[in-house]
């Protein structure tokens, strides 16, 4: 079980309370597809991903980004039980979606960069530490049911 200090919990929840899930989610997913273009392999049904502009404006990317980040919110709400929170999603990503878990780490780091850009000086090194821990725990939980 992951141990969170009171400070880490506070740093996570206080940032999360100010996150616009729709905007941040869309931006994080778009940046993932732009910065690491090979991740587009999972989204062949999304239509036009031919340029950064196309990706950023793509409504399916926006919608899916929002979906992914909303799910992240479940982790924030259940910091003491992330493993079980993501059990079913882990099975889904393995058995149906066939996503290499490395992609969870890539998206986690992209999310951190998006938060840094949004919160600037408020995204202190201490903040980053707590969030790196969170994205790492989430990535781990999502990979846990792989077989």
């Amino acid at each position: 079980m992951v141990h969170w200090t009171a400070e880490e919990k506070q740093l996570i929840t206080s940032i999360w309370s100010k996150v616009n899930v729709e905007e941040c989610g869309a931006e994080a997913l778009a940046r993932l597809l732009i910065v690491y273009p090979w991740t587009q392999r999972f989204f062949s049904s999304f239509g036009n991903l031919s340029s950064p502009t196309a990706i950023i404006g793509n409504p399916k990317v926006r919608a899916h980004g929002r979906k992914v980040l909303s799910s992240f919110g479940e982790a924030v709400k259940n910091l003491d039980n992330i493993k079980n929170t993501y059990a079913k999603l882990s099975e889904l990503h393995c058995e149906k979606l066939h996503v290499d878990p490395e992609n969870f780490r890539l998206l986690g780091d992209i999310l951190i960069i998006v938060l840094a850009a949004h919160f600037a000086r408020d995204f202190t090194p201490a903040c980053q530490f707590a969030w790196q821990k969170l994205v790492s725990v989430v990535a781990h939980a999502l990979a846990r049911k792989y077989h």
């Binding site: 940046r31 732009i34 950064p52 990706i55 995204f123 090194p125 980053q128 530490f129």
Partner: protein, 142 residues
């Protein structure tokens, strides 16, 4: 992974801004590195790593100067960083995984200071550029 002309241009454009705060960004990046990835401190047992320490600032400057050299010689990063490449291969021997970690922290620091300039295209170009630099610095390891 070679940089396209637009990517080189994006790297150079942001660098002119970053260069004005290079020392502070360097120190902040190292602070983020040591804080998020404590295992990286094992390479600096001889350093005072407290926030704002002289050594931290000095080393941050060193790192950013080297990156500046790579930007100035973006068409020949290998040539520009040849000596540093040997230093890392034969003397420092920092495990290659750590270059990714530092690159990530540099991106965080730059994003935090220049959010409106740090567009997805610029982000992609810088990620690729730092990856190139990391490649050059580790290519003589074996």
């Amino acid at each position: 992974m070679t940089l396209t002309q637009p990517e080189k241009a994006a790297v150079i454009t942001i660098w002119t801004k970053v260069a004005t705060q290079a020392d502070a960004i360097g120190a902040e990046s190292l602070e983020r590195l040591f804080s998020s990835y404590p295992q990286t401190k094992t390479y600096f047992p001889h350093f005072d790593l407290s926030q704002g320490s002289t050594q931290l600032r000095g080393h941050g400057s060193k790192v950013m100067n080297a990156i500046g050299e790579a930007v100035k010689n973006i068409d020949d990063i290998r040539g520009a960083l040849a000596k540093l490449s040997e230093l890392h291969a034969y003397i420092l021997r920092v495990d290659p995984v750590n270059f990714k970690l530092l690159s990530h922290c540099i991106l965080c620091s730059v994003a935090a200071r220049y959010p409106s300039d740090f567009t997805p295209e610029v982000h992609a170009a810088w990620d690729k550029f730092l990856s190139s630099v990391s490649s050059v610095l580790t290519e003589k390891y074996r």
